[in-house]
Amino acid sequence: MARTIIPFGPQHPVLPEPLHLKLVCEDEIVKEAIPALGYVHRGLEKLAEIRDFNQMIQVVERVCGICSMLHSQCYCQGIEEMMGVEIPERAKYLRTVWSELHRMHSHLLWLGLFADAFGFESLFMQFWRIRERIMDLNEATAGSRVIVSVNVVGGVRQDLTPEQCSWILTEVAQAGKEIKAIQSTMLSDYTVCKRTKGVAALTKEQAYELGAAGPTLRASGVAQDMRQLKYAAFDKIDFEPVVEYDGDCYARGVVRFREALQSIDIIRAAISGMPQGDISVPVKGNPEGEIITRVEQPRGECMYYMKGNGTKFLERVRIRTPTFANVPPLIAFMPGLELADVPVAVLSIDPCISCTER
């Protein structure tokens, strides 16, 4: 039959990151999709051999800029557990605040990119405009817009003043209002629904079996969220995992949309429940033993496996990131899509190649 072979990426305007897909299409229906990775692979896990466990914090923060905060949090939690350090309560709450700010900005960023993937430029612009509020919060409270670098083993580096706290509250509330203003567009506009509903759907069983993580999994009806593991302040803050049941791109969008709003509530709860006290404890010695820790990144479950040998250099840092888990579902649902839906479908798992490849 009349086949067209398309090199989709590595450099392609709809791909925020280099990733290659060899697409074989017939009348623009994808018949076969084979990915190629490795354009972002740096091999940073091996840096553990030449950077001590403290310096590694800055390295893992740069596994990916978008959820850098959660990478270092996951890493620090692991080291703290290995070394038996109990961090102050206030530090837990602070980590929660910044991690939820991260989730918000990441989801807003994604919602924008998603809108862009189906060619809705003005919606993209609106989401990114709202997101700037969060970026300002990051910059003002932590010192950098993107890579906040607040985590250290034993706690956090920055504290929040009461004024900053109330400012955060007003800003996120305002952001929430603005998000709600475009809710009807994102969730019920005819063209948006037409482009996302029923596209690249995964059933609950498929999603689970293919090892999907995070919003991709929750959009297929599996209520699993690593925050249920009650790390940081989540033992005190209640929340319900956001679940949708259709498993298509639309459902994935809704999950993230609702999570962005949910984060506002969590931030509010964290700030109101934040105890006074130290923000870090001094740490002595070196990590030893093996540990697996998990946190919920905006894109889903992130897992760190670490092995210490009593020196300041860790023997192994192994990072399993959410996108890594979401690539197999992506490969699985590609055939049968329309070419125009490829960006939408690829974006729907919120691909982060940089952390997939590290």
Binding site: Q55, F120, S122, Q126, G143, I147, A181
Partner: protein
């Protein structure tokens, strides 16, 4: 359809949210981790920053004979984490709240200062 209309019309009739950088520059946030400065007079060339820097972009060397110390930082490799600032015992390092300007060439930041140790030694006998 056209669910977006109120939002875009509102945008049309209100002021654009664009910050007119570089024509108007915002007041910087004081905590921002921008350009790194070394107050070389305060630096004791203890190498603490060199050791702790996660990006390994600082080189501190002492020239005993000349009585000078050199503090070199590669601004193109620095990741602006401010670990060095945190660990510096004399607080000679600081970060300005504005970003470093782009440049067309790769220049190292090289600062040469007097070694303080001899100074101390000199001062000590005086007291003695």
């Amino acid at each position: 359809m056209l669910k977006m209309t109120p939002t875009v019309l509102k945008n049309l009739f209100s002021k654009s949210s664009t910050r007119m950088y570089p024509f108007e520059v915002r007041e910087p946030f004081p905590l921002y981790r921008g350009e790194l400065f070394n107050d070389i007079d305060k630096c004791i060339f203890c190498k603490k920053c060199e050791i702790k820097c996660p990006s390994q972009c600082i080189t501190v060397s002492k020239d005993k004979e000349a009585g000078t110390g050199t503090w070199i930082c590669d601004p193109f490799a620095c990741v602006y984490c401010s670990i060095c600032v945190d660990v510096c015992p004399t607080k000679s390092l600081s970060m300005a709240p504005n970003h470093r300007k782009p440049s067309a060439t790769r220049d190292m930041i090289e600062q040469v200062g007097k070694l303080k140790v001899p100074k101390k030694k000199k001062a000590a006998p005086k007291k003695d």
